[in-house]
């Protein structure tokens, strides 16, 4: 079973190789890249392409490794004990399964997404070493060991906010999603807007890559912003000419709010355009 991208996701050769290696050898795959280059989407698309169920675990700053495995709800057990509920006698009734457990127990091989692992505490990845390696963990409350029936394809994303420990990295395949070049970007747009006029696309991409070149932007627009922007352009029926200008870089493109998400960036951009105009006249 090989992943070759889907009709809504364009995967480059190196990405495909990394994904297939991870699936074949049943090891986790660590994905890094600029925000908006489709790290999280990858897991969704892999699951879709392989027809596997997807389990998602979105890591937060307060997340603990334990929560991905299971949680023991002592409070509701206490409450139930007061009410004389029969379920109280079995502690297993109060164990809530986490996404990792669900993925391990899945009847068919699953895809497990651990999203933004770098958001959590610095020790978080270390607490998952055994789970990643052996794909099993121990539940203290019920004294059972949960083993993966089928080793799930694990996709872990990171935004590079924290450095990950070596021991963790050694257990993973690694891939860095580079920002797509123009050619790949055209393919990506093609799968999302198959009917888009060629000339409009060319014009829009030129504007887009120009904005990315603007020095000093806090957050450069990425693939997801481009797709949003195109969606707006199509919805608003903006004529191609509006993007067209004799002097590139001297117009403010319509609906640029979709590309620049930061107030300071918008200001900076407008100022640059303004200065370019003044220089011309």
């Amino acid at each position: 079973m090989r992943f070759t991208g889907t009709d809504t996701y364009v995967a480059t050769d190196d990405l495909m190789m990394a994904v297939n290696a991870a699936i074949t050898l049943e090891r986790p795959l660590l994905i890094k890249g600029e925000p908006g280059t489709g790290k999280t989407m990858l897991a969704l698309e892999v699951a879709k392409a392989l027809g596997r169920p997807l389990h998602q675990w979105h890591v937060k700053s307060t997340a603990k490794a334990q929560q991905g495995l299971y949680e023991y709800d002592a409070v509701s057990r206490l409450r139930d004990s007061q009410l004389g509920d029969g379920r109280v006698h079995d502690i297993a009734n109060y164990i809530k399964r986490g996404p990792v457990w669900e993925a391990f127990e899945s009847g068919t091989p699953a895809v497990l997404l651990i999203d933004e692992i770098d958001k959590a505490d610095i020790e978080f990845p270390n607490d998952l070493l055994r789970e990643l390696d052996r794909m099993e963990f121990y539940v203290y409350e019920t004294q059972q060991t949960v083993r993966a029936r089928h080793r799930p394809a694990m996709i872990i994303t990171s935004n590079n906010e924290k450095e990950l420990p070596d021991a963790f990295l050694r257990r993973c395949f690694f891939h860095y999603i580079r920002f797509p070049d123009r050619e790949t970007m055209e393919k990506i747009v093609e799968v999302h807007f198959s009917g888009l006029k060629r000339s409009l696309l060319q014009q829009a991409l030129t504007v887009f890559f120009e904005i990315r070149e603007v020095p000093g932007l806090k957050k450069k627009p990425s693939t997801s912003e481009l797709l949003d922007w195109l969606k707006l352009l199509v919805a608003e029926d903006i004529p191609e000419e509006a993007l067209h200008s004799q002097d590139q870089g001297k117009i403010i493109p319509p609906l640029h709010g979709a590309l620049l998400k930061n107030e300071q960036d918008v200001h900076l951009f407008e100022r640059l355009v303004f200065m370019a105009r003044r220089g011309r006249s």
């Binding site: 991870a22 307060t62 206490l78 924290k162 450095e163 993973c172």
Partner: protein, 392 residues
């Protein structure tokens, strides 16, 4: 054959381990790369390289090792975009360096030489030998710049080192901030965490629940407490300029690590020794200063204080009024340090100088004495001891 490749990678400074090598073999055995060099390149990169800043290093070793085996895939070709040269150059040179630049015919001349070298490289690249190696860094070495030397403006990323910028090929735009390599420091700093319960009640407080349930005649009364957060407060004083220039890198790493590790962190700069005022922004050190006395009154005594400095100076700068190299100080530095020590019982001094050299400097000995021996080298071990002292 692959063992040698693996060893080459190791020699080039890539952090590869045996486990990763075995994984690669396993993948090759599973027939993953097919029979193409591209496939093997992608696979071995995914297996062996775990950080995008190492991609370039890997590319070079891979290229050198498999040269002549077959035509290399297009994506591996190294290019040196002209825009690098067009971008605004930014200088971080010391006075001696500047003098050196002048002696070589000035900045323009230097850039011209650099440009010619780069063009030469491009020429060679088109000439068929795609793998250039590290030649890109050599212009700097040859002119004897320090590693911080010439920095070519790079999208506002402040922490890049010049060598890196030129050296990187395809992955030149990836962020290589100081954050890398700070993990060890963070782990050491973790010792300093003191957890306090603040904020919304989210956790079951078992003891209190039992107590209040018993008081409630057995009728369950559940008590919750807020989750624990790191509540340690830190004041960081950093020595800048002069002899500290040699230790910029390690101080940057420490600073970067502390910034993300502590929520309550205040940092100030001083030069050589603490006097009546400090500053927060080196660019405005002359206009925006904070009185040390104000600091002592502003931050409560439960703040932990960390000084970072090499304490290498003339003893007069510590012991005598008016001894400062920069201004006339009414009171001796020792007096000011003593005041800080009086207010903040938990104070340490981190010294980037190696510990065995401390005895050669009178000023280090004096500072150490003032600190009550709480001076530690700026190493992982030293940090560990310092944090232990702070939490004692």
């Amino acid at each position: 054959m692959l063992i040698e490749f693996f060893l080459k990678l190791k020699d080039s400074g890539l952090p590869v381990s045996v486990k990763e090598y075995l994984t690669l073999l396993e993948a090759v055995k599973a027939g993953l790369p097919g029979y193409s060099v591209d496939g093997f390149y992608y696979l071995s990169r995914a297996c062996l390289v775990k950080d995008e800043s190492n991609y370039d290093k890997f590319d070079r070793v891979f290229g050198a090792y498999f040269k002549g085996l077959t035509a290399l895939p297009e994506t591996l070709a190294a290019t040196i975009p002209e825009e690098w040269l067009r971008r605004q150059a930014e200088l971080l040179l010391s006075d001696e360096d500047k003098a050196l630049v002048e002696s070589l015919g000035g900045w323009d001349k230097l850039m011209e030489t650099l440009r010619r070298r780069l063009e030469e490289q491009k020429g060679r690249h088109q000439g068929g030998s795609k793998w250039i190696g590290t030649a890109g860094t050599s212009p700097f070495g040859a002119y004897g710049f320090n590693p911080e030397g010439v920095r070519i403006g790079q999208d506002g990323s402040r922490n890049r080192r010049a060598v890196k910028v030129w050296d990187e090929r395809q992955y030149r735009n990836l962020d290589d901030s100081v954050e890398l390599g700070t993990r060890n420091i963070k782990v050491a700093l973790k010792r300093l965490r003191r957890f306090a319960r603040e904020g919304a009640a989210e956790e079951l407080d078992l003891d209190d629940t039992i107590r209040s349930t018993a008081r409630n005649a057995g009728w369950l009364d559940i008590r919750m407490v807020p989750e624990r957060h790191n509540a340690v407060k830190v004041l960081l004083f950093l020595d800048v300029g002069g002899s500290m220039d040699d230790h910029v890198k390690v101080c940057e790493e420490l600073f970067s690590a502390t910034r993300t590790e502590f929520k309550h962190l205040e940092y100030f700069y001083f030069h050589n020794f603490l006097y009546e005022s400090v500053w927060k922004d080196n660019r405005r050190r002359n206009s925006e200063r904070f009185g040390t006395l104000t600091l002592l009154h502003t931050f409560p005594h439960d703040y932990k204080v960390i000084f970072v400095g090499d304490a290498t100076m003339s003893p007069y700068e510590i012991a005598y009024p008016g001894g400062s190299v920069e201004h006339h100080n009414e009171e001796a530095g020792a007096v000011w340090l003593q005041r800080v020590l009086d207010v903040y019982p938990r104070t340490v001094w981190l010294n980037p100088q190696p510990e065995d050299r401390w005895d050669y400097y009178d000023s280090v000995r004096m500072t150490r004495q003032l600190m009550g021996d709480r001076m530690y080298p700026l190493t992982i071990d030293g940090l560990d001891r310092a944090m232990k002292e702070l939490t004692r």
